[in-house]
């Protein structure tokens, strides 16, 4: 189980090392080394106005992973019980939960983000987290609904009901514990999706105002494409490594869950 989690852990450790041990702030401008290529003192080179690309990668990665994990966990905590309860209730509630989960999941996050962030003077990570959280519950609720349907038909649930178990007891004591395992697997891909969404928002200019994000780094790289391609390459590689490692971690969790949890 541990091997697929290794890339994600390496990424986090590397970013933490850059932040804690690095002595250069990601917002420090050193105009004389604008767009400088990689050198021993600056392994990833410098970007616009001399910012240290390695520092931006480190801080941006930690911010992205922090945002992604908190959105994924809150989506899981909201979506899994919601989907399971809807599966148990059945009928109208189940159909409408499924339909709204479909709608929320397919809706372009960008539009929601623009509508919400446009009203705030200085968009912060909290606002961005809220925007992603609006849609994060949907994949969990959907999967929990499908799994919950399968478990709700099991004999032990029928037995609990026959013995007089209330809806809450059936839900929390019997059905939900069996659903949580397979649904938790989604956390990795939801987190990867949030990292990519945050990068896209940062790329088009809706990210943090100080520009310290993977999307902001990509924007700098695009602006300096002609004279300093190393910034673009660093940014693109960072995004791919972070989202790829989260996906791989979710693969590892999936393998562990399918090996240990019997539905």
């Amino acid at each position: 189980m541990l091997l697929p989690l290794l890339p994600a852990c390496t990424v986090v450790v590397f970013a933490a090392a850059v932040v804690l041990l690095g002595h250069r702030s990601p917002t420090r401008l050193t105009l004389y080394s604008s767009w400088a290529p990689p050198s021993p003192s600056r392994p990833f080179g410098s970007g616009d106005a001399g910012v240290d690309v390695l520092a931006i990668v480190g801080y941006g990665t930690l911010r992205a992973i922090g945002l992604a994990l908190s959105v994924a966990i809150s989506g899981f905590l909201i979506g899994a019980p919601l989907g399971t309860a809807a599966a148990l209730r059945g009928g109208f509630v189940e159909r409408w939960t499924l339909r709204s989960a479909d709608l929320v999941q397919s809706f372009p996050t960008f539009l929601l983000a623009l509508a919400a962030l446009s009203a705030v003077r200085t968009p912060s990570r909290w606002h961005m987290g809220l925007v992603f959280a609006i849609g994060a519950w949907a994949p969990f609720a959907r999967l929990a609904l499908v799994q919950g349907r399968a478990i709700a038909a099991a004999p032990f649930v029928e037995a609990t009901r026959a013995l007089g178990g209330s809806f809450a007891r059936v839900l929390f004591r019997h059905v939900l514990p069996n659903v949580l395992g397979p649904v938790a697997v989604q956390m990795g891909s939801v987190a990867a999706g949030v990292v990519l969404g945050e990068t896209a928002l940062g790329f088009v200019g809706l990210g943090p105002p100080d520009g310290v994000s993977l999307g902001g780094l990509l924007e700098q790289g695009t602006a300096g494409m002609l004279r300093a391609p190393h910034v673009l390459v660093a940014g693109a590689l960072a995004v791919m490594v972070v989202s790829g490692s989260l996906q791989m971690a979710s693969e590892g969790v999936r393998r562990w869950v399918s090996g240990h949890v019997r539905v």
């Binding site: 397919s106 996050t109 623009l114 003077r121 088009v204 809706l206 494409m225």
Partner: protein, 328 residues
């Protein structure tokens, strides 16, 4: 006698099925209408209910109170929320949300109309290219043309599907536009058709990868079917077997995949418009956001939302037509 009864029975059946399709279309368009209204209301509320003075947001902190009051009156912010909402909905119905704040005299919806075409062209070309490339990739993965190297094609599909657009689009642009000068540079105003094709080609790649994976799975499901064996036994070439016989059966999941990817496609279109500095809805929305041009922002968000909802409705209709099993 029995013929007449059979005929009237058949026409009654046809009438009933037309009625069913019409009812389904009506409920789908009602649902789309509610989604659009919800999105528009969200934008309306966000700009008026969240703490902070919208006039200060537009004019800046240093503005005089007299100017702020004038702007508030102009935007109708001094009236009650209910009256504002009513006039907002009425303005939407008339397609008139007022003039742009950064370009006085130009109605907000005129700017939106101007920007709608380029974005629709980009997204439409991307959907077409993505669907065609994806189906082609799926066919390559299941047909006999590549022989043992089919697994490589599948691995390539999985790899491409895992690569995010926001990362590889700038890098691809760097290699093709800067290093090798094959395509126009970003920001080139004379890029024309070549620029559109390159941008929509980039946008089509994630869609093509998803369509390829789902199409391959759907086609493989059909691979053992008897009717394909019969077609091959009758002398059909492999291309005919897969294209004419198997593909229509697999097209249901493919159409569903396109429908679910439309939201991501729209987001990708905005990213690419920013990357290539192309005119379009995305650029309009971002500029309106930066300038706090409230009427244009409201109009553009509603327009983008309706583009998305229309495209989804069209995809759902196409899916229902292709695959009658999903109709009920």
């Amino acid at each position: 006698m029995s013929h007449a009864r059979a005929r009237s029975g058949r026409s009654a059946e046809r009438l009933a099925s037309v009625g069913r399709v019409a009812a389904a279309a009506l409920s789908r368009s009602l649902g789309a209408f509610w989604v659009l209204l919800a999105l528009a209301s969200l934008v309306f509320l966000a700009l008026r209910v969240l703490p902070g003075d919208p006039a200060a947001l537009v004019l800046g902190e240093q503005a005089k109170e007299v100017d702020r009051a004038a702007l508030r009156a102009r935007l109708g912010l001094d009236r009650s929320l209910g009256v504002q909402y009513a006039s907002f909905v009425w303005g939407l119905a008339r397609l008139d949300l007022g003039d742009s704040l950064s370009r006085p005299g130009v109605p907000a919806f005129t700017e939106v109309r101007r920007a709608f075409g380029p974005t629709a062209a980009l997204a439409g070309a991307a959907v077409l290219l993505g669907a065609v490339l994806g189906v082609a990739a799926a066919l390559l993965c299941v047909g006999p043309w590549l022989r043992e190297r089919r697994e490589w094609a599948h691995a390539a599909l999985v790899g491409v599907a895992a690569t995010p657009l926001v990362a590889f689009a700038p890098v691809a642009t760097f290699f093709l536009a800067v290093e090798h000068r094959v395509v126009p540079l970003p920001g080139d105003p004379d890029s024309g058709l070549a620029g559109l094709l390159f941008a929509s080609g980039l946008l089509a790649v994630p869609l093509a990868a998803q369509v390829g994976r789902i199409g391959r799975a759907a086609l493989l499901e059909q691979a053992r079917s008897k009717y394909l064996e019969v077609a091959a036994a009758k002398g059909a070439s492999p291309a005919r077997v897969w294209l004419v016989h198997a593909l229509p059966v697999a097209s249901g999941p493919i159409a569903v995949t396109v429908a679910t990817q439309l939201g991501a496609l729209l987001g990708g279109a905005v990213v690419l418009e920013r990357l290539f500095e192309r005119p379009g809805l995305g650029t309009l929305m971002l500029n309106a956001y930066a300038a706090r041009d409230i009427p244009v922002l409201e109009a553009a968000v509603v327009a983008a939302g309706s583009l998305f909802v229309l495209a989804q409705g069209a995809a759902a209709a196409v899916t229902a037509t292709i695959d009658p099993r999903g109709r009920r």
